[in-house]
Amino acid sequence: MAKVELRNISKVYEGGVKAVENANIVVEDKEFVVFVGPSGCGKSTTLRMVAGLEDISSGELYIDGDLVNDVPPKDRNIAMVFQNYALYPHMSVYENMAFGLKIRKVDKAEIDRRVREAARILDIEGLLDRKPKALSGGQRQRVAVGRAIVRNPKVFLFDEPLSNLDAKLRVQMRAEIIELHDRLQATMIYVTHDQVEAMTMGDRIVVMRDGFVQQIGSPLYLYNSPVNKFVAGFIGSPPMNFLSVKVLEEGGKLVIDEGSFRLHPDDAHVGFLKAYVGKEVVFGIRPEDIPVAEGGKGQRIPAKVTVVEPLGAEIHLYASTPTQSMVARTSPQHHWRTNDKVEFAPLMEKARYFDRETELSIIPVAEEKKS
């Protein structure tokens, strides 16, 4: 098993389109790292460079300590699972899994042993004689994973492997891949556009946008300490609320003014916001951090209910001030209706503030503690 290290990796396509810029990512041995971002962010390109399917324009790629920039894919000792499965349609499941081993002239008995072992792990022993077209989507994806397992590679690469499956199957396969990772103790890099997949599967997550790595960290670290507005909005569902507010100083105290309401920032944040007095900033707060006020006193955000989404265990309450809208995660006891008046009690110590221009977090983000 192996460590994968990307140093200042860039990809520039013919015609000057920059797909990835200066990516610095270290995937530790046996780690499960997820590259996540919206489509076109360069996450797949980065993975394909690790696989050797795309040339690296500049920078260095190390697998297990060896510089592999110019090593062809077959000599990198990696295996890749594709979004569309990429099974060989004219071969049976068994032949599909055995193909790579046959090419590498592995002993026949050994091939048989490994294929059957992989089939057992993936619970597809009964399908070995079938052709891919006789399989369901989930089974096909299992075969694709099996094809990777039998090779016993240093690094597993997954390129959006679940996005062609229906929602229920996706959740199931998600769990199976995590289990597989625990079982094989292999280094895995997994690309997805789905932040839920990223949060649930990754030991660490690499958030990308427009070819740039935005932030790298464990799921909870990214959730709690996003470095910028993009990461804050991308990680978490429903996403963090962003409200445009103005920072004011009133009688020696800082206030943020939305227009329809005013709030006092948490003491820990005041120092950093001082530089923004008189300017507009983005006030970010997660849906679970604006519980509905049940009487009592304290800071309040008044709003009007626009949409109610009952999910059973909780309700997503969409509400808006005269100019801006937000969503809150509330308990299902209440029966809200559209146009009801509601007051939220924001947990100001959980609030984030972002610069309007740079979108960077105004409150400095602490480095993640290495576990």
């Binding site: 696989a51 050797g52 399917l53 062809p72 894919p73 077959k74 990696i78 295996a79 890749m80 594709f82 979004q83 569309n84 499965y85 990429a86 099974l87 060989y88 349609p89 004219h90 193909f99 790579g100 090419i103 590498r104 052709k131 891919p132 077209k133 006789a134 399989l135 989507g137 096909r140 094809r147 090779r151 062609n164």
Partner: protein, 325 residues
């Protein structure tokens, strides 16, 4: 709204419903009429297409005298006049008789069609296989390999599709003369290969470039070289394209007279192909209709067999199951 709700009658809607039903009925009558018309036209086209062939088939069983005396459609009136004699003559060779200088009648047996059948096969099979192999390699290169000048080269090949082969006959013949290829099978194979390559390359390129890239990439990661990829993945997956070109090229070469006349005549009668023999069968003045028709049907047997043999490859189902979609 569920389907049941939709069907439930609304009070007072009976009249509207009746109107709707009659409207529906009118629409369906018009639909049926349209269908009938379409089928009638299709039937007419089919008849126009098959009638001459039927005429040929019937004529091939008729007596030479009857062929010249009455139309083939009258053959049913006199079923006794039908026989396999023409086929016997065509397959076994024609009897020739002439009176020699001493006044004796000499009977000679002419050459049969089997030799020509064999020659046609000898010309056709390599002329189909060689271009397929070369073009498949070329198409793979154009589709999946990056090399300078790739686009220009491909455009050049596509442009060659527009060149009629007739203008190449004389220059090639001159070169063959110098190279000693005139009147040899190799010469005809190369000629047919050359004439078939542009279409084959274009056709295969179009097919191969639509194969999902990820299948190849997966194979590369699995450790396959370009050659392994080509032989183990591309060739089997491109079977539908290869088969459809094989049928075209087979029919073209099998029915070709021009190229054979130009490049094979140097080989003498021993190298005659079916089309040349058919030409001879018709007689110098076109009088031997009965033989021509029988010969034509004999020459059709193999193409029909090939067509039905490769037919299933026309179904583009081979890719099903590989990738999503």
């Amino acid at each position: 709204m569920s389907a049941a709700d939709e069907r439930a009658p609304l009070p007072g809607a009976d009249f509207e419903e009746a109107a709707a039903v009659s409207r529906l009925r009118r629409v369906s009558v018009r639909k049926v009429a349209g269908r009938l018309l379409l089928n009638a036209v299709l039937a007419l086209v089919c008849a126009a297409w098959t009638l001459p062939t039927l005429g040929l088939l019937v004529t091939s069983f008729r007596d030479p005298d009857m062929v010249s005396r009455s139309g083939w459609w009258t053959a049913a009136r006199d079923p006794k006049g039908l026989s396999l004699d023409n086929y016997r003559t065509v397959l076994a060779g024609q009897d020739w008789s002439y009176v020699d200088s001493s006044g004796k009648t000499v009977r000679l047996r002419g050459e049969n069609m089997l030799g020509a059948f064999g020659n046609s096969l000898a010309v056709t099979v390599p002329s189909v296989l060689i271009p397929i192999l070369v073009a498949a390699f070329a198409a793979y290169g154009f589709a999946w390999l990056k090399f300078p000048g790739r686009k220009m080269l491909f455009v050049g090949i596509v442009a060659l599709l527009a060149v009629p082969l007739q203008i190449a006959l004389i220059p090639i013949l001159r070169d063959y003369q110098k190279a000693g290829l005139n009147g040899s099978f190799l010469g005809v194979w190369l000629a047919h290969t050359g004439f078939g390559l542009p279409l084959a390359t274009y056709l295969f390129y179009n097919y191969i470039s639509t194969l999902p890239r990820s299948i190849l990439e997966s194979a590369f990661i699995d450790g396959a070289s370009h050659y392994t990829c080509f032989t183990r993945l591309i060739l089997p997956l491109a079977m539908p394209a290869l088969a459809s070109f094989a049928i075209f090229q087979f029919l073209w070469v099998w029915n070709d007279l021009l190229v054979a006349l130009v490049f094979l005549s140097g080989g003498g009668r021993a190298m005659e192909v079916l089309t040349q023999r058919l030409l001879a069968l018709a007689g110098t003045r076109g009088q031997d209709w009965h033989l021509l028709t029988a010969g034509a049907f004999v020459s059709m047997l193999l193409p029909l067999a090939v067509f039905f043999g490769l037919q299933k490859h026309f179904v583009r189902g081979l890719l099903a199951g590989s990738v999503k979609g």
